[in-house]
Each structure stands twice: as C-alpha cells, then as structure tokens.
C-alpha cells in the first residue's frame, strides 16, 4: 500500500471514530429526559398535540400541566424554554409546577415549550450539553438546549422565512425559532404548529394572561425587562414598579414593536383576547465577548470580559464581580409572574388567579433554586413526568 493511501485510511478511521463518539454524546443528550414532579396543584395533564394534532409523534410535542383551583376564576399560561438556551425560564416554571397551589382560577404550565430546541445544542459555541442544579437531595440534571428547534425535526430551512400570516421577511433560521413563528398555523412548518398549539390553548381555554419566559444578553438593550404590547402595558408597568419598590430589583417595561412580527408578545395579543407578557432576565452566558461557555459560567454568570465592558459602561444591566447568578434570574421570574397575576386579579376580581406556595425573589436567592425541587425517586411514580 502506498504512503498516500496509508495516510488516507488513518484519517478515515480517525474521523469515523471522532464522528461516532460525538454522535453518541449528541444522541444521548437528545434522548435524555428530565423528570418533573407534578406538585400538589396539578390536577390534569395534556399534550400540546391535543391542540395541534400535527405534533403527535414528533419531538416537538410536549406536556401541558393544568393546575385548577377549587374556585372559578381567571386563567394564566406560563411557557418556558421557548429558547432552550435560556434555562432560568424552565427552572422558574418547574418551581411553579412542583410547588404551586391554586386557590382560585387555573394555571397552565408548558415547561418545555420548544421541546425540539431543548434536544438540540450549539456546537459552534461550545455549549455544555447538560447543567446541574444542586438540591437538598443531590443534584438535578437538565439538558442545555439551543435557541432553535433541531434541524433533525424541521428541515430544510428556507432561504428566507416568510412569516405567516403577515408575510414579513425574516431570517431563514427563524423558521425554527418559536419566538418568531407566532401565531402559527395547523399545517405550517413544525414550529408554527407548536405556536399554533399554544394559541389554541389560549383560545379554547379562554386564557386571560400569558407569560413567555426568556433570558437576554447583558449587551442587548431588551434585557432585564417585561416586554408588553399596548393592552398589557399598564399591568406590566404596575408590576415593574411594585417589584422595584417591594423587592428591590429592576425589571423595566419595554413596548412590543408592532412592526416586528412573529413574536409572542405581539401576536398573542393581536390574535387572541389573552394579555401577553414576555419576561427577560439577564443571562451573561449568551453574550458573545466572553470566556468559555462552561456550566459554571451558565450558573454564576461571572465573566472577566463582561466585567471590563461593564466598567466601560457598555452593558445594559448593572454588573460586578458577583455576576448574575441563576438564583437571582429565577427569583426575578417567579416574582414578576406572581406580581402580574396579582395585578390582574386586583383589576378583574371575577377573573382572579390566586396562587400560593411559590417563593418570591428574596426566598429563591436565599434558599437556592434547587431547594424547591422534589426528589423524583421518592415521589409517587404517577406524579413524575419525563420530558
């Protein structure tokens, strides 16, 4: 055999081995299920495909939890992991799912809204595939997903994504972004079917208020805020002022732009009677000029490069050596959701949504996010849901 072919064969073997090893890791991450313990408030579950039948049997289908109070009232919907690389949303939604008791009205929770995105990763950015949250009984392991649905589930991407129904031209990648495919349609691309399912929940269940929970870069102006369209703006402002005065953290209000289509805070309000709120907490991990994207950085939000930028006043949030720990972000989400529900209940007492046993900002920061999760190995198996 010639030297040339010996080199070629060695390279083929090395690349095949590398591809196989990497493929196994990615396969395991895609099929790793996170156990969620349904708390005392959960009365029934459904699948998103019950509202958008095209999702049945796909990786985009996901579990919907209903927490119904004894007393009639309003309804609130919480959607988390719309972008699965913004995990404070999922962690906050799980605190509600595992602890909330609903006295009046109904709380609907979709913890892993873009389930396909949660089984994806961003190898070009060197994301860790998992992260772990310390709890009283060990640690709880989560997949770290990506902003967009996996191309394994929705392919091919178009050259330009033509938004439905407004026909606005969006970036090709946004066809897999469940915060660009609202309000969706039953027979559209898979991610439009996901958002269509949520719209159907809101329309069929007469949902009063909807929360789409996110995280945003510290260098991006729309961060640490509540994004609200005109009809939700007053309530968002009241909530923002209240959490600032009572709990001491900033969460300003950003208006939802009417000319930028496909976003939940715009389309939910335009295509249903539901009042939408999109919550953003800072997530330094998503900023670009940072050090390595490690699990530690994801959780503590500490980065020397961002610190330098903060000193040069180039960030849109306060930033110091303490970073932006996950507990702070999760706590903010819990408090803002509770506060908006309280504001809505005050304004419409006949459609009130009263929820208890959910910690607020100070408690989450003091006790840690993980202290609110239950051990799935000790829970009633009927209450444990894998997703």
């Amino acid at each position: 055999m010639s030297r040339e072919w010996m080199i070629k064969i060695v390279l083929i073997v090395l690349l095949a081995a590398g591809t196989t090893l990497a493929g196994i890791q990615l396969f395991r991450q895609r099929h790793f299920d996170v156990p969620m313990v349904a708390g005392p408030g959960v009365t029934r579950t459904a699948k998103l495909s019950d509202y958008s039948p095209g999702l049945k049997g796909t990786m985009a289908d996901t579990t919907v939890f209903f927490l119904e109070g004894n007393e009639e009232g309003g309804k609130a919907l919480i959607m988390a992991n719309t972008h699965s690389n913004e995990p404070a949303s999922l962690l906050a939604a799980l605190i509600f799912l595992e602890n909330a008791v609903v006295e009046k009205g109904t709380l609907i929770i979709i913890p892993q809204f873009n389930n396909s995105g949660g089984r994806n990763t961003r190898p070009g950015d060197g994301y860790p595939l998992y992260f772990e949250i310390p709890t009283d009984w060990g640690s709880k392991k989560f997949r770290l997903g990506n902003r967009d649905a996996s191309p394994l589930d929705q392919w091919p991407d178009p050259d330009v994504y033509i938004h439905y129904p407004d026909k606005q031209l969006l970036s090709f990648i946004d066809v897999r972004n469940t915060n660009r495919t609202w309000p969706g349609r039953a027979d559209g691309p898979l991610m439009e079917q996901v958002t269509f399912g949520a719209m159907e929940i809101m329309r069929q269940e007469n949902v009063d208020i909807a929360f789409d929970i996110h995280g945003a870069e510290t260098m991006f102006p729309v961060t640490n805020c509540i994004v609200a369209p005109e009809k939700s703006a007053r309530m968002a402002t009241m909530a923002s002022l209240t959490v600032k005065a009572r709990e001491g953290f900033d969460n300003h209000v950003e208006p939802s732009p009417s000319g930028f289509r496909g976003l939940s805070h715009r389309e939910i309000g335009d295509y249903s009677d539901t009042l939408p709120f999109l919550l953003e907490a800072p997530i330094p991990f998503l900023d670009q000029p940072t050090g390595p994207k490690t699990e530690k950085f994801l959780l503590d939000g500490k980065d020397p490069f961002l610190l330098k930028l903060a000193k040069a006043k180039m960030l849109f949030v306060p930033y110091d050596e303490s970073g932006w720990p996950m507990d702070k972000r999760v706590g903010q989400h819990c408090s803002v959701v509770l506060e908006i529900m309280r504001q809505y209940s005050r304004k419409k007492p006949e459609r009130a949504i009263e929820v208890s046993h959910v910690p607020r900002y100070a408690q989450v920061v003091q006790n840690g996010t993980g202290s609110y999760y239950h051990d799935p190995s000790k829970a009633d198996p009927d209450k444990v849901f894998l997703n």
Binding site: E4, I7, L11, I12, L15, R30, L152, W155, P156
Partner: protein
C-alpha cells in the same frame, strides 16, 4: 417526501461523489485529505438520515 427534499438528497449525493472523487485524486497534501473528509461528514449523515 416533498419535492424539495428529494432535490436536497440528490444534491447531497452529487456533492459526496465529487468530494470522494477529489479525495481519491488528491495525491500529495495530507491537509487536503483531511479537509475532504471533514466536508463529507454532514453530507453522509444527511444522506444516511442519521439522527
């Protein structure tokens, strides 16, 4: 399968054949051997539909 997907697979197979042909023809530069193989990976995974 939609028509566009059939086209994608045909394009993939065509590209694979071109890259393999160039890989075989390349005689000297080991860096090129490596680059051809690297380019082949996503194309082969797509055609074999490996998820």
């Amino acid at each position: 399968m939609p028509f566009i997907m059939i086209l994608y697979y045909i394009i993939c197979v065509y590209l694979i054949s071109m890259v393999v042909w160039n890989f075989i023809r390349e005689k000297k530069n080991p860096e090129y051997f490596f680059h051809y193989l690297l380019v082949l990976i996503p194309l082969i995974l797509r055609v074999l539909r490996v998820k």
